[in-house]
Amino acid sequence: MKNLKNLNVLIFVLICIISLILPNVEVTKAEDIIIYTKPVKAVSFNHKAHSEDYGISCNICHDKIFQMEALNVEKSNDFNHRSFSKGKYCGACHDGKKGFAMDKQCTKCHIGVKGLNTKAKK
């Protein structure tokens, strides 16, 4: 009987610990794909690909270039190509050296209204 009680306590404690950890795990994980609709519709940023596939470490982007909050950067009124060409935001890498340049291949980033609509349907 005593052993069983101990087990119950142990399980209770474990559940407490897990439920404490779980939300934290979720908070530090970004959405795989972030879609910007300002200033124009619509640009797709693959967070997962950037942080995992391209092997860029978190601290290169956070918090020097971007905040850890999706769509926060849309609030800045200089989130545009003029800033990018000065090396801000996406332009910090997409200068034709670290990442592909931004003066061509527009639709690699720009999925447009059509891309936005198909994403919304899914």
């Binding site: 519709k41 527009c106 639709t107 447009g112 891309g115």
Partner: protein, 248 residues
């Protein structure tokens, strides 16, 4: 070893056999390397489109002004601000459009795999819609080459919609007539403005609107460049369109 000197004057330029001698000469005279493109995206022909863009051989551009549009296809990002501006400016209902954006997907392509293609009425010099209209509700304006509508003459038979190679017409329930792009003549040009709503609003500089009969206009200078490849949609329709496409 002595190298034989190359005679550039006698150099033969290879062109597809399907192009006649006369066409070939004309083509070389114009100096354009031009590819035709079907709406679906198939490359059709190697012909000068500027050559095909006007109806009369003597007079280069039959209208004064000769309104036309050049579209930088690779710059379009499908933000659709042009469609919004057009609908607002010309009271286009949600079920129709005067201009729209087509999308071409090329999953086999390296890098970018989608291309957005803005389309609108091509204000053709030989407009099949005008030829098809039984009541002359649609006609080619002699002043500026724009294909216009007289709503009250339209009986809604939709022959013009079927005839249009560019799918640029829709039936407007409120107007009880077919509606189409008039290069914003009614809403803007006739009021002294110099460009269309779509060209003005485009944040990527995709649409260049202007007078092709004016050698000082931007569109004239862009279209008549040796280095630049210019094409039209569906050249095989023979409609002699006035909307040109390029990349750059």
């Amino acid at each position: 070893m002595m190298q034989k000197k190359f005679d550039f004057d006698k150099l033969e330029i290879e062109l597809p056999d399907s192009i006649s001698k006369i066409e070939r000469r004309k083509f070389l005279k114009m100096g354009f390397a031009i590819t035709g493109l079907l709406l679906g995206g198939k490359i059709l022909s190697l012909t000068s489109v500027v050559d095909k863009g006007y109806a009369f051989q003597k007079e280069k551009y039959p209208y004064k002004p000769h309104y036309s549009m050049l579209i930088y296809q690779n710059r379009c990002i499908d933000c659709e601000l042009c469609m919004e501006a057009c609908s607002k400016t010309n009271q286009v209902p949600s079920y129709g459009y005067r201009t729209t954006i087509l999308q071409r997907k090329m999953p086999q392509a390296i890098d970018q795999q989608i291309e957005f293609i803005p389309v609108l009425c091509n204000q053709c010099n030989r407009p099949p819609c005008v030829t098809g209209c039984p009541t002359r509700a649609t006609y080619k304006d002699k002043r500026n080459g724009i294909v216009m509508m007289i709503n009250k003459k339209c009986i809604g038979c939709k022959t013009c919609m079927t005839a249009c190679p560019y799918n640029a017409r829709y039936y407007n329930e409120e107007k009880h007539a077919v509606d189409k792009c008039d290069f914003c003549y009614g809403s803007r040009l006739s009021k002294g403005l110099t460009t269309t709503a779509c060209a003005e609003v485009c944040p990527a500089g995709v649409r260049i609107f202007g007078d092709l009969s004016d050698p000082n206009s931007e569109i004239f200078r862009m279209v008549h460049q040796l280095e630049r490849t210019i094409w039209v949609l569906r050249p095989e329709s023979g409609a002699a369109p006035n909307v040109f496409y390029t990349r750059g």
